[in-house]
């Protein structure tokens, strides 16, 4: 008999953004993301409540997936930022902080939701069109004939992860490696459609960072001893299996098999496997690689015939190995392997890294596959180094799409903010008419947008210092807590991105009011190069994601929650 349970009524929250609890949570999330932002950001221990592994990180790609909220609004913001990260890798924290600031500032200035949405959209279009313009003062062209800007870009990303605890020399080493890896994966001269190569990362714990290195070809960790067979210079015929050769019925799926109890299925499959082994030996295969496990009996058989056996390769290495050797992965053991599926590997050798022994597979001919061996002293830092490495890799690739970069160190944010404020003030009356609001209301909206941008720049400082902007180029400067109160013109040094030096102009603190001005572009003859650069593509997209997500959140009227 089924029991009838009383159903709880759904809970409907009216205007969630006006709810104090929701606002407190949004604020908390903003503080959390803000505290992680930038090269001096604070770290978070991430773990579950049953004593799982602790990860220590400040990367949005690590922290955000661990956040679960009971508030759908927060989950909405989280998932849109995560979606951005999955496509562009960089600027996740930027998107999160900017989006949450927009919501918070709008509420603080008591801006109507509908108006805020309209003004935000307008400001966003101002920003994006300015960033695409040729005379944009915060964009830097990337010149592929020189590695300088690429190195700066890579260096900025590597140093934005404080949990890596890298020294200056180590940062340089890693960013040089990243740029080299990037350049190596671009094929030199292949006709037809160009496919980029791949970089595989291998991590080794316990060695100093400076031992990290790049190798052409693939390095695969060996599980058992490797006995160097005859070292003839001929390339090795290679076969690659994507199916399990462990003797289980991997192809069975969910179906069922009816069998006689006297039938030994294991033995039957083993016979099949040995049949396969016989074919491999007949076809003079010298290297047999399997993504999954190979049955020990088959391994023994192949080894006794002089075949090098590698098992448990893992999914991640399948594609690079296919690229390197030109093999077609074999997915079944019930058909004869066509000769076209075989590939070739030029040479096999072993390399020792700490306590890991790795087999080095070299490509036969030109193949844009290389391996980066990343080393660090302990696991936490190594994990973070791997995150930074992947991010650098992705950002460098994005430059192929759009060969530009944005000034880092908060300078792009302050510059954009000053530009938007100036532009808004200039066109206040006509734009306000277009948006059907009063110019004062419009200017308030612009102020909210600019304040939010400034907030992102201010988030870079964590040691109690304050942020300032010069009233000429609108670049971002940090004033340390010790130096505050002293003469600011005297000791500020370089701006956040390292392009402007201590120009004797006026300053304003970022959380104060200032008269609007048109940020002047830097004169082209300056020999100074930016020291911090951000990814152009990632940041522009993050800007859009942040504004659109904020607008979506502002548009939410009710939250309906099923309590059952």
């Amino acid at each position: 008999m089924s029991r009838v349970e009383k159903k709880a009524p759904s809970v409907c929250t009216d205007l969630p953004l006006n709810n104090a609890e929701v606002c407190a949570k949004l604020h908390l999330m903003k503080e959390l993301l803000k505290s992680c932002y930038g090269p001096r950001g604070r770290l978070k221990h991430v773990r579950n409540n049953i004593g799982g592994r602790v990860t220590t990180s400040s990367a949005s790609s690590v922290i955000l997936p661990a956040l679960y909220s009971s508030q759908p609004l927060l989950n909405l913001i989280k998932s849109s930022v995560l979606n951005h990260i999955s496509r562009f890798s960089d600027c996740g924290l930027f998107a999160g902080v900017f989006c949450l600031s927009l919501l918070e500032q709008a509420r603080r200035h008591e801006l109507r939701e509908s108006l805020a949405i309209k003004v935000n959209k307008h400001c966003l279009s101002l920003c994006t069109s300015y960033l695409q313009r040729d005379d944009c003062a915060c964009r830097v062209k990337i010149d592929f004939s020189s590695s300088q800007n690429l190195m700066t870009l890579a260096g900025s990303i590597v140093s934005s992860k404080p949990a890596c605890l890298l020294t200056e020399a180590e940062k340089l080493h890693i960013s040089t490696m990243a740029v080299r890896a990037f350049l190596q994966t671009i094929p030199c001269s292949s006709p037809g459609p160009v496919t980029l190569g791949q970089t595989v990362t291998v991590t080794v714990r316990g060695l100093p960072v400076l031992d990290s290195a790049m190798f052409p070809g693939l390095l695969v960790e060996m599980h058992d001893d490797f006995n160097q067979t005859d070292s003839s210079s001929e390339p090795l015929r290679t076969v690659l299996f994507s199916t399990s050769l462990a003797g289980d019925l991997a192809e069975l799926g969910d179906g069922t098999i009816e069998a006689d109890p006297d039938l030994d299925t294991d033995l039957q499959i083993l016979d099949q496997l040995l049949e396969l082994g016989k074919q491999l030996v007949e076809d003079e295969v010298r290297l047999c690689v399997c993504q999954k496990v190979i049955h020990p009996v088959l391994q023994q058989y192949l080894r006794s015939h002089g075949v090098v056996v590698m098992e448990r390769l893992g999914m991640a290495l399948m594609e690079p190995l296919g690229m390197l050797s030109g093999t077609q992965p074999v997915a079944t053991l019930h058909a004869r392997i066509p000769s076209t599926a075989y590939g070739r590997v030029k040479n096999l050798s072993t390399k020792q890294f700490g306590n890991k022994t790795m087999l080095h597979l070299q490509p036969d001919g030109e193949a844009a596959v290389c391996t980066a061996v990343l080393c660090h002293r302990n696991e936490t830092m190594l994990d973070e180094l791997k995150v930074a490495w992947r991010k650098t890799e992705d950002v460098l690739r994005l430059t192929l799409k759009e060969p530009s970069a944005l000034l880092g160190g908060g300078c792009t944010e302050t510059h954009l903010s000053a530009y938007v404020k100036h532009k808004g003030q200039q066109e206040a009356s006509e734009t306000a008419a277009g948006l059907r609001c009063s110019p004062a209301e419009f200017l308030l909206g612009v102020k909210v947008f600019c304040r939010s941008l400034d907030m992102v720049a201010r988030s870079l400082e964590h040691d109690g210092g304050s942020s300032a902007m010069d009233l000429n180029h609108a670049h971002h400067w940090t004033v340390s807590a010790d130096a505050a109160g002293e003469d600011m013109a005297g000791g500020l040094g370089l701006c956040g991105c390292g392009l402007v030096e201590n120009s004797s102009t006026e300053w304003t603190f970022l959380n104060t009011e200032y008269a609007e001005f048109c940020p002047a572009p830097l004169l082209g003859d300056s020999c100074r190069k930016p020291t911090v650069l951000d990814s152009f593509t990632a940041k522009v997209n993050a800007l859009q994601v942040a504004v659109e997500t904020a607008n979506l959140a502002l548009d939410v009227r009710y939250v309906i929650k099923d309590e059952n």
């Binding site: 505290s35 604070r42 602790v54 679960y68 289980d248 006689d260 696991e379 040691d463």
Partner: protein
């Protein structure tokens, strides 16, 4: 539903600290945790009981690592500490106490720095500079020795080489007897090493050393016994066992050019119920046999046996790693089943038949064997030895010419090795009631396998005895691998303190000399000097704690002694070995009286180079991670459980 909590710098544990310091709960916790483990530092260790309130069980621990292992981690910091120690212990098997102490001491240093308004970024850069200074000083104070010159046998050393200042145990005792007229006491030998070239001898090859041969010749002979004694840290009896194990090993090693200690070929066999003085080291592999295997053994002893090696379980349903049993398998029979024997019985019969065909008498396996298999084997006089290490198996494979396989069905003639003998190691029937028979499995005198027999009549002591044995064995192993030793008993630490203080002074002077306008630069220099002083203070704490732990010294007295030593030391001329040993073997009060003859009786204490370097590095890395962390993200927390958490 999963909830998420975020602890934002709040904890109720430390109410007395100021509001700002609330932020650094992690550092406070780390230093508090380290403080509870202070009693494990130094050679004189005291046992600790860890009691579980719920089950009422308790554990006796005698090392930092064991203690942390036995505690339930309650927060992310505990987890982090646990992981760090596990990682360290996995590689080095020693040095966890030092790691933990310095993590605590340096987190105190960081806290002091924060209290003085130094920013986290500056603390990190200053302390990184500090650790570089320390590691450099450690490298400078290391005593390197050439592997070719390490003398193995204790007896031959003592007899033949005492005139060459070989520092064997026997020579030492002779030296102490004649200390009044013998000029070259052990301590001086080392000083000469240091003074001669300013640096230690790093003889990379024979060609190298010829250029400065007259310097080297005096000290090129080190006996393993001496090295071991220096590294024993008061665990003399187990260290002697480790040395013996090594000697047995190298006696059988043809390649004698380098003296090494292959730790993978060492086993331990723990016997409960025998007095502790029965501990010994035996060549070969000693296993305990029980029940019906005993009679098989009696049948097989003195015979030359054929051996098979199986890397896995010896049972019907064992499958290799990564094998998945098909889920949708149904067995359909067209007639009612009448088969008498089960599948397992058939399998056992098949395997036993195979073994009999191959003439195998002995199977060594890494896993376990099923009961039916063991019974069948016993019936056919085949001995099954279970739960061996794979490295042991590999050794047997080398010495007998057999090949390890995963499944018994893989065995063929080429997999089976010959020439194994079984022998009763010792008849223990007078001690033991359960009739466990210790049997040695040997391969005709040329095996490198060594078993350390650890005995105790108190069962709970066995575990710590085993721990100590491995710690000693690994210390010896690392020393021979590094080919270097580090002056112990606080000497290296004092040397590092000197270097840190020197650099701190330099920074201070730079700061006061500089022009006042460059405000930012001078502040950094000042902060660096403060942080370096604080780091030195942490090391000072370490030395004094070791001194307090090993004797009846008070903290004040210990500090006075250390600072007096530091004042009289000249950084530019001396090195670590110039310091007197602060922690003496017998009498802590003899600390300052270096010149007395008593000094000659004390053994010089040394540490491992790479272990110390790694431990210090890891300690500081831990502090840095905690220092930079301001929050904890926990997923899946019950709302009622955590009161001081904020929830998203």
């Amino acid at each position: 539903m999963n909830l998420f909590f975020f602890f934002l710098r709040q904890d109720v544990m430390l109410k007395s600290v100021t509001a700002k310091e609330h932020q650094y709960v992690g550092l406070h916790k780390l230093s508090a945790l380290a403080r509870t483990l202070h009693s494990f530092i130094g050679p004189q260790k005291s046992y600790k009981f860890i009691q579980d309130d719920r089950s009422g069980e308790s554990a006796l621990t005698c090392s930092c690592f064991c203690t942390i292992q036995n505690l339930d981690p309650t927060c992310a910091l505990d987890q982090l500490v646990r992981e760090t120690l596990q990682e360290h212990e996995k590689i080095y098997h020693t040095g966890s106490g030092c790691l933990m102490f310095l993590a605590g001491a340096w987190s105190n240093a960081a806290l002091h720095g924060l209290r003085q308004g130094i920013s986290i970024t500056q603390i990190i850069s200053a302390m990184s500079e500090g650790i570089e200074i320390c590691l450099d000083a450690i490298r400078k104070s290391a005593v390197f020795f050439n592997g070719n010159d390490v003398i193995l046998s204790r007896r031959s050393t003592a007899a033949a080489l005492s005139s060459r200042l070989s520092l064997s145990k026997k020579a030492l005792s002779e030296a102490s007897n004649m200390s009044s007229n013998l000029k070259a006491t052990p301590a001086k030998v080392y000083q000469q090493v240091q003074n001669g070239s300013g640096h230690r001898q790093i003889k990379l090859s024979r060609y190298f050393c010829e250029t400065k041969s007259e310097m080297v010749s005096q000290f090129e002979t080190y006996s393993v016994a001496h090295i071991a004694e220096a590294l024993s840290h008061r665990c003399d009896n187990v260290m002697e066992m480790a040395v013996e194990a090594m000697q047995i090993q190298s006696r059988n090693n043809q390649d004698n050019s380098f003296v090494t200690f292959d730790i993978t070929k060492v086993m331990t066999c723990v016997l409960f119920g025998l007095p502790e003085d029965c501990c010994c080291v035996v060549q070969g592999c000693i296993v305990l046999l029980a029940d019906e295997k005993v009679s098989v053994f009696h049948h097989l002893k003195t015979k030359h046996l054929k051996v098979a090696l199986v890397n896995g379980d010896l049972s019907h349903n064992y499958r290799h790693l990564g094998f998945k049993r098909p889920a949708g398998m149904q067995h359909v029979r067209d007639q009612p089943g009448v088969s008498g024997s089960s599948r397992e019985d058939e399998w056992v019969k098949k395997v036993v038949k195979l073994l009999l065909d191959l003439g195998v008498n002995l199977i060594l396996i890494t896993g376990v064997a099923c009961k039916a298999m063991v019974q069948h084997c016993c019936r056919h006089q085949i001995l099954v030895v279970e739960k061996l290490n794979f490295s042991v198996l590999r050794n047997f494979a080398q010495s007998t010419g057999s090949v390890p396989v995963t499944y018994a069905s893989q065995l063929g003639h080429h997999c089976v090795g010959t020439g194994v003998q079984l022998a009763l190691w010792r008849d223990l029937s007078c001690y033991d009631r359960k009739l466990l028979l210790p049997v040695s499995i040997s391969t005709g005198g040329n095996t490198e396998l060594v078993t350390a027999i650890l005995t105790s009549s108190v069962q709970c002591k066995l575990e710590s005895l085993e721990d100590r044995f491995w710690a000693c064995a690994y210390r010896l192993h690392h020393a021979l691998k590094d080919r270097a030793l580090l002056p112990g008993a606080g000497r290296t630490e004092m040397f590092c303190i000197c270097h840190l203080q020197k650099q701190a002074k330099y920074c201070r002077e730079k700061q006061s000399d500089s022009v006042p306008t460059a405000a930012a630069g001078t502040a950094t220099a000042l902060h660096t000097s403060v942080m370096l002083e604080l780091m030195a203070e942490g090391l000072m704490d370490y030395i004094t704690t070791v001194m307090i732990n090993s004797g009846k010294l008070s903290k004040v007295k210990a500090r006075t002694i250390v600072s007096r030593q530091l004042q009289t030391f000249d950084v530019h001329k001396g090195n670590a070995a110039k310091f007197p040993q602060l922690v003496l073997r017998n009498e802590a009060t003899a600390v300052s009286s270096v010149k007395t003859t008593e000094c000659a009786q004390t053994v010089e204490v040394y540490d491992n180079l790479c272990v110390k370097q790694e431990a210090w590095r890891k300690a500081l890395d831990l502090v840095f991670l905690v220092l930079q962390t301001d929050g904890e993200v926990v997923s899946g927390v019950d709302q009622k459980m955590e009161t001081d958490a904020m929830m998203l």
